[in-house]
């Protein structure tokens, strides 16, 4: 059983909802990312989502855009992200890692070489924002061959027949985008989320994670009522940004602690969800 399947099976057995934090690999520093990943797991993460920095992150709001810019300034590349995953795996072989990014760095790497290197490093799944089902054939075969899950997004604007086509191709889990907009934007309509998640559930038995627009324990708790897992990204990065600005000469671990604290409170919110 893959790490992703195992985690969702365990969650289901325990009647718990999953928590998936997102951070950008290499932000705020390249050296700090692996320790941050471990801290997030200790704070209650079930799955880690690792952003792969790109020069033109078209679906990101300002908070995550700045994370990408900082990471690139720190010399990050897709190769280095994979080294971080391998480094993390030395101490943790259980927590699934999903990489989230854009097509071009992967295309440049070479699809088959990338799939092989990702599997070797210990990556479990891939979310490529600008690679909808229409364009995924270039990579999907290579990912399947090495046992990696390609994870598709479904949005509030996805028409029903298209949902069907997407779930037929999906593996790992479904990522439902809760708001029309970029990451970190918009107000959550949890009733709409619940309705759309229910519609997706009619068509697939895959777990459904919900992300975009979840900022705190309350919104996470509300979303966890219908979702199998909750993704939180911009809020964590904003928290670290604010901490870094609050005082001069902070140790990186102090900056991380801001994100860790928020994640802990969101964990409580998710676990107290009225599901």
């Amino acid at each position: 059983m893959s790490r992703l399947s195992q985690v969702f099976a365990d969650l289901q057995a325990d009647k718990r909802r999953g928590l998936i934090p997102y951070v950008v690999a290499g932000d705020p520093s390249a050296e700090g990312t692996v320790p941050l990943m471990h801290s997030l797991v200790d704070a209650g993460a079930d799955i880690l989502e690792l952003g792969v920095p790109f020069s033109d992150p078209m679906s990101e709001g300002p908070v995550i855009q700045k994370g990408h810019e900082r990471a690139l300034a720190n010399g990050m590349s897709l190769h280095r992200v994979l080294s971080m995953v391998a480094e993390f795996r030395k101490d943790n072989d259980r927590t699934p890692i999903v990489m989230m990014g854009y097509t071009n760095p992967i295309e440049r790497f070479g699809y088959e070489a990338f799939a092989a290197a990702s599997a070797e490093a210990g990556v479990d799944g891939l979310i490529t924002v600008d690679l909808p089902p229409e364009e995924v054939d270039t990579i999907d075969g290579a990912l399947k061959d090495v046992g990696l899950d390609n994870i598709f997004l479904i949005s509030p604007t996805t028409p029903e027949p298209r949902v069907q086509r997407i779930v037929e191709r999906a593996r790992g889990f479904i990522y439902y985008v809760a708001v029309k907009g970029v990451t970190g934007s918009g107000e959550l309509d949890t009733d709409e989320v619940a309705r759309n998640v229910a519609l997706i559930r009619e068509k697939t038995s895959l777990p459904i994670a919900v992300g975009f627009g979840i900022k705190n324990a309350a919104s996470a708790s509300a979303v966890a009522a219908s979702a199998d897992a909750v993704v939180v990204g911009s809020a964590l990065i904003a928290e670290m940004e604010q901490k870094a600005r609050s005082a001069e000469g902070l140790e990186e671990i102090q900056i991380h602690s801001a994100a860790v604290k928020l994640l802990q409170s969101i964990r409580v919110g998710v676990d107290s969800s009225p599901s």
């Binding site: 020069s55 033109d56 810019e69 295309e107 909808p132 509030p156 029309k180 918009g186």
Partner: protein, 406 residues
């Protein structure tokens, strides 16, 4: 050209998935996929709809002022002493560039879709002005995304857009030029997709944009072809156009693609020289990749990060290019070359002084190559250059480069 290139080939692209050979496609976030499908369906229906075409043609005639003349630059041609240089005068269009052909067409699509808000990205500001213009005419809310750097160097166009009632949004991310304006426009569109029409200004972006912008701009080449035949009794021997995203070039080239005798040159921005790395010439020295919804030639590093570009002209300062150009390069139908900042600036001054026509700095790149080409050809041969825009917007930049305070 390779042997597989037949006249039918050019009518076969893009295919139903929006591909031009290995280029093109729809590389966008899921949230936009249904909006693209809606646009595709609407356009498929309206493309051959006589009433829609009549409306478009009438707007081009009475609002834009088409057809634009095909003018023989006699003094310039005499001075060079080679081929005769004919200018397709898109600078004489309403708003001063070819961009309006496309914004008229897309605004009609927006109207048919019942969208009340339009957005656009702009580099030099010509597409922004053309979008703000059609928005004013149709009473639509208009937001134009423009890089902070371009806002500085195209101040006149920024003010024109504001006068037209558009809101100009300064983009401060990345390199603060056209590519970042396009990122920001995409972000706005994802957020407001239900009430907003995105008027893309060039033959790039996700399918169906490269196709529909090409179709709207092809009026340039259709007219030039007919004018060549009626004024000179023959087709031109060569076509020259500048290429940033490539909409004016596709507009001129497309109706001639099946005319094997006509050779074509797309002129990219060579910036400070291709060898310096400071340029915007992805077809000349780039490699294939995926950006802004399509696969095409890009300026990128070994890790697939998009590189910053440099050009004296804001409109050419873009690291990608329309996917149809990428395909035309690969099959060898069009040759892509580059002209440097200095060469473009010299061509700007020459055309202004010799013909009394002040070209946009973008267009001046095409002129620079056309002059070289003409010198290598004979006087009975004809070159048609797409004079894609007028240079009024650039006079402050030119003065600055020449060390003059206006």
């Amino acid at each position: 050209m390779t042997s597989e290139v037949t006249p039918e080939l050019f009518a076969s692209v893009p295919d139903q998935d929006g591909r031009f050979g290995r280029f093109g496609g729809k590389f966008v976030a899921e949230t936009l996929m249904s909006a693209l499908a809606d646009l595709e369906q609407l356009y498929a229906r309206l493309k051959d709809d006589a009433a829609f075409q009549r409306e478009f043609d009438e707007d081009l005639a009475h609002y834009v002022g088409r057809p634009s003349p095909l003018y023989e630059a006699a003094r310039l041609s005499d001075a060079i002493g080679g081929a005769r240089i004919l200018l397709k005068r898109e600078d004489l269009n309403h708003t001063g560039a070819h961009k309006v052909n496309n914004t008229i067409g897309q605004a009609l699509l927006a109207k048919h879709m019942g969208k009340k808000r339009v957005i656009a990205e702009t580099g030099a500001g010509q597409h922004g002005v053309a979008s703000a213009t059609v928005a004013a005419r149709l009473g639509l809310e208009c937001h134009v995304f423009m890089g902070e750097e371009d806002i500085r160097r195209q101040a006149l166009n920024v003010y024109r857009m504001k006068l037209l009632g558009a809101q100009v949004v300064s983009v401060t991310s990345g390199s603060r030029t056209l590519k970042d304006a396009m990122n920001e426009a995409m972000r706005d569109w994802v957020t407001n997709v239900e009430d907003t029409f995105y008027i893309i200004g060039t033959v790039a972006g996700p399918h169906p944009y490269p196709m529909l912008v090409r179709d709207f701009q092809s009026v340039i080449g259709r007219e030039a072809r007919a004018q060549s035949l009626s004024q000179y009794g023959k087709l031109p021997d060569a076509l020259v156009a500048c290429v940033g995203g490539g909409s004016n070039a596709i507009g001129l080239f497309h109706p001639f693609l099946q005319d094997e005798s006509v050779v074509m040159y797309g002129v990219e921005a060579g910036g400070k020289g291709l060898e310096t790395g400071e340029h915007a010439a992805p077809l000349s020295v780039g490699s294939p990749g995926v950006l802004h919804g399509n696969r095409t030639y890009l300026m990128q590093d070994d890790n697939g990060q998009i590189l910053e570009t440099h050009s004296v002209s804001a409109g050419l300062d873009y690291p990608g290019v329309g996917p149809e150009h990428a395909w035309l390069k690969d099959i060898g139908r069009v040759q892509y070359v580059a002209a440097n900042d200095d060469e473009a600036l010299a061509a700007f001054h020459r055309l202004t002084r010799v013909e009394g026509i002040m070209p946009a700095l973008e267009t001046a790149h095409a002129m620079a190559h056309a002059e070289k080409l003409a010198a290598s050809m004979s006087p009975e041969q004809h070159i048609v250059v797409n004079l894609s825009g007028r240079g009024d917007k650039d006079i402050l930049t030119v003065a600055d480069l020449d060390g003059i305070k206006v």
